[in-house]
């Protein structure tokens, strides 16, 4: 079963952060290869597992670096806004231990500079998240 575990110095303070890489989605890569266009290299980002997010999110800079084109518009609601239209893309999320997930990611700016990606419940729906607070560790298995 593909899985990864992350150990942090203070899981409560930092939250479940994980260093991942974001790649263009498989159909995007196939279209680029068919057109003879170079496939953008993966973008390294810091992601937070967010059980309060019903979808996964990448920041605008990540979308720009990957040259992503939107395949949808979704409307999001947050504690401070309602029905904000945001572009949606197909990406691959490469987690530690070569855990790869194809996902639809929403583009939206993040608060602060530390996090560039949210892993939402669309990804969590695919596996098992274990949050072991007293050990400052979490793991995710597909």
């Amino acid at each position: 079963m593909p899985s990864f575990a992350v150990q942090l110095p203070n899981l409560q303070a930092l939250g479940p952060l994980v260093d991942i890489r974001v790649l263009v989605g498989t159909p995007v890569e196939q279209a680029l290869q068919k057109a003879g266009t170079p496939v953008p290299p993966p973008v390294a980002v810091k992601a937070m597992i967010d059980t309060g997010a019903s979808g996964s999110v990448i920041d605008p800079n990540t979308a720009k670096q990957l040259g992503l084109q939107p395949v949808g518009i979704v409307y999001i609601s947050t504690p401070s806004s309602v029905n904000v239209p945001c572009p949606q893309y197909v990406v691959r999320l490469l987690f530690p231990n070569n855990v790869i997930i194809e996902a639809f990611a929403i583009e939206a700016p993040m608060q602060g500079q530390q996090i560039q990606c949210l892993i939402g419940r669309d990804v969590l729906a695919l596996g098992v998240l274990v949050y072991t607070g007293y050990m400052n560790q979490f793991s995710f298995s597909l």
């Binding site: 989605g25 159909p27 995007v28 196939q30 279209a31 680029l32 068919k34 057109a35 266009t37 937070m48 967010d50 309060g52 997010a53 019903s54 979808g55 999110v57 040259g67 084109q69 939107p70 395949v71 949808g72 518009i73 979704v74 409307y75 999001i76 609601s77 947050t78 504690p79 401070s80 806004s81 309602v82 029905n83 904000v84 239209p85 945001c86 572009p87 197909v90 194809e102 639809f104 929403i106 939206a108 700016p109 993040m110 608060q111 996090i115 949210l118």
Partner: protein, 78 residues
């Protein structure tokens, strides 16, 4: 938000017909062309890249009412 504005307009114009025939499915739209209706989102996206290449297009579920995606934390700056 001007991205996919033409496609969203096309979707709105054709929504009554799409609802009648394909409610719950996913429609693929490029500019003013409805390029197909699919059972799932990834099939529609793959068809879109196959037909149009790496350009913007719209894949949207055919529903009477759009439900927003919710975020309860304050990590997003929107």
């Amino acid at each position: 938000m001007n991205r996919l504005a033409t496609e969203l307009k096309t979707f709105g114009t054709n929504l009554p017909v799409l609802l009648g025939a394909s409610e719950g499915k996913f429609v693929l739209i490029r500019e003013e062309e409805i390029a197909g209706v699919f059972d799932n989102q990834m099939d529609a996206v793959s068809a879109g890249y196959g037909k149009f290449g790496n350009v913007p297009f719209l894949v949207k579920q055919i529903l009477k009412v759009d439900m927003p995606i919710s975020f309860v934390s304050n990590l997003l700056a929107v």
